[in-house]
């Protein structure tokens, strides 16, 4: 029982972390249909700048805020320079964002040096409680909490404001949205910046989780985020959350019960979902 609880809680926390990571991508890929391979780069920048700000201020809160700001600024630059010319063209998006990904991760080395850097957990979030054989790691509970908050905020914005509708409409027909008097370029810019900020937030939270940041972490996790967005059914926020948790739990259980397949668990999960529910877990019909 304690074992199952342990696996579940930790799987859940991992799932939440993956959700945070995928949340930005759900906006960018799911809503705006931009294949942003540089997402991982934004994530890594968030992680590094989080560690950097933590180092100079000693405050975890400031470090997270700093990382988000970094994400916003980078999001602005990315959208203006990289994404804007290639809206609506997946092929070009792949090329240009991969190029930018190289630039971003290599720039990390220029700015922060080529080595991995240790990331510290603030004292009030480090350590764990043991409750009846279940080990509750404080930082993971914190991640679960943040995940829920982010989910609620984003969901609120998408459901209660027109932003979500406008973005979806803009992806279907950009011209028409403009002809309705909406500056869609600006909307896209803001949404992209929000996505980048989410990526950076995920990075900043990921750093203390694994205890280390390194330039290659971006690409490693970007694929995971793409998997989650696909399993969740492109652009559905509840879908992403569900998919992320599924991935987290599956990873946790598989590593325990079927360790020989644990390397392949994400790929198997994605393949199975694509064969049996290609539209994703959370979309009712094929769009």
């Amino acid at each position: 029982m304690g074992l199952l609880m342990n696996l579940t809680v930790n799987g859940l926390a991992t799932g939440m972390l993956i959700f945070l990571l995928a949340a930005g991508l759900t906006l960018i890929f799911g809503l705006m249909s931009v294949l942003n391979f540089a997402h991982g780069g934004l994530f890594a920048w968030g992680a590094f700048s989080g560690v950097f700000f933590y180092g100079i201020t000693g405050s975890f809160i400031i470090s997270v805020v700093g990382a988000i700001l970094t994400g916003i600024v980078l999001g602005f630059i990315t959208e203006k320079l990289i994404i804007k010319p290639v809206y609506g063209n997946h092929v070009q998006q792949i090329l240009i964002t991969l190029g930018f990904m190289l630039v971003l991760s290599e720039m990390l080395k220029v700015v922060f040096g080529p080595n991995q850097i240790a990331a510290k957990t603030p004292d009030y979030l480090s350590g764990s409680w043991e409750v009846g054989g279940v080990i509750l790691i404080k930082y993971r509970l914190f991640i679960i909490l943040i995940g829920i908050i982010v989910f609620a905020i984003v969901q609120f914005i998408l459901k209660r404001t027109k932003i979500g509708l406008i973005v979806r409409a803009g992806v279907i027909n950009k011209e028409m949205v403009q002809a309705l008097g909406i500056d869609i370029n600006k909307v896209f810019l803001y949404v992209f910046m929000a996505g980048a900020a989410l990526a950076a937030l995920a990075g900043a939270l990921m750093a203390p989780y694994s205890g280390v940041v390194y330039a290659e972490m971006g690409l490693e996790f970007a694929i995971l985020a793409f998997i989650v967005v696909v399993i969740g059914g492109m652009g559905s926020f509840p879908g992403s959350l569900l998919a992320a948790i599924l991935v987290g739990l599956a990873g946790s259980y598989m590593a325990y019960f079927v360790p020989s397949l644990s390397l392949a668990v994400n790929m198997i999960l994605m393949a199975v979902v694509l064969i049996f529910r290609p539209q994703g877990l959370f979309t009712a019909k094929e769009a």
Binding site: K162, L165, I166, A169, L180, G181, I182, I184
Partner: protein, 235 residues
């Protein structure tokens, strides 16, 4: 009466093609100006140029005394211009409700009233309120495209072939609506259905090969068999 919209010798290039090669037209406040011309003449391009979707390469466009030739599309629209494109361009994965919501510039009472009016005009839309735009029938899409422009308080309306794909009875109510709307709104209409064009139009502009070839009052055109034969091929 004053001129709400004036195009002077407008030229438009799309890529390397010179599509509009001198279009001039005027729309008087409160009137319906009909653009006529054969397929590929440049009617749609004219409307798109006004909207800033295919910016003019030379010539000027004045709206309400302002030069809007170089304005971005959304500013043009925010000046109070509604646009019904020829390919309907409904947002396929958004429901009817959401399509209208995106379109609505201000969600105030007046807008709601206009929406209600549109829904009485096109009861089908109300019936399929929660249906995705992509699942509507051809005519229903056309209605939705129009409704999207009608929910806003526009001073000028650019409508590209509204009658296309509509049942005769619906065409009639659209004509009715246009006549109704004329009181507050100026309309530039592209229409191939001559009976409809003649039914609602006050003036006409005839475009051929990207150029304005003729302007005049609609009554004159209706009477002028010769002109009709040469340019419209109607006997």
């Amino acid at each position: 009466m004053s001129r709400l919209l004036t195009l002077e010798n407008v030229h438009t290039h799309i890529g390397q093609y010179h599509i509009l090669q001198g279009v001039s037209l005027t729309a008087e406040e409160g009137e319906v100006t009909v653009l006529l011309g054969r397929n590929g003449a440049g009617k749609t391009t004219t409307l798109r140029t006004i909207m800033g979707l295919n910016p003019a390469s030379s010539g000027t466009i004045h709206y309400d005394g302002q030069d809007i030739t170089k304005l971005p599309t959304f500013s043009v629209a925010n000046g109070g211009i509604g646009y019904v494109p020829e390919d309907q361009a409904v947002f396929t994965t958004l429901t009817v409700e959401e399509n209208l919501k995106v379109a609505m510039r201000k969600e105030d009472e007046a807008a709601m009233a206009r929406q209600d009016y549109v829904l009485t005009l096109f009861p089908d839309l109300k019936k399929f309120w929660k249906k995705e735009g992509g699942h509507l029938s051809g005519g229903q899409k056309q209605m939705l495209a129009m409704a999207r422009a009608f929910v806003n308080d526009n001073r000028l309306m650019l409508i590209d072939e509204p009658s296309k794909g509509l049942a005769p009875i619906v065409i009639e109510s659209v004509m009715e609506a246009i006549r109704e709307m004329k009181k507050q709104t100026t309309i530039v209409l592209v229409e191939q259905n001559f009976s409809m064009a003649a039914g609602v139009g006050d003036t006409y502009t005839l475009i051929d090969d990207g150029k304005t070839v003729q302007n005049g009052r609609m009554e004159e055109l209706v009477r002028d068999e010769e002109l009709k034969r040469t340019y419209l091929g109607i006997a």
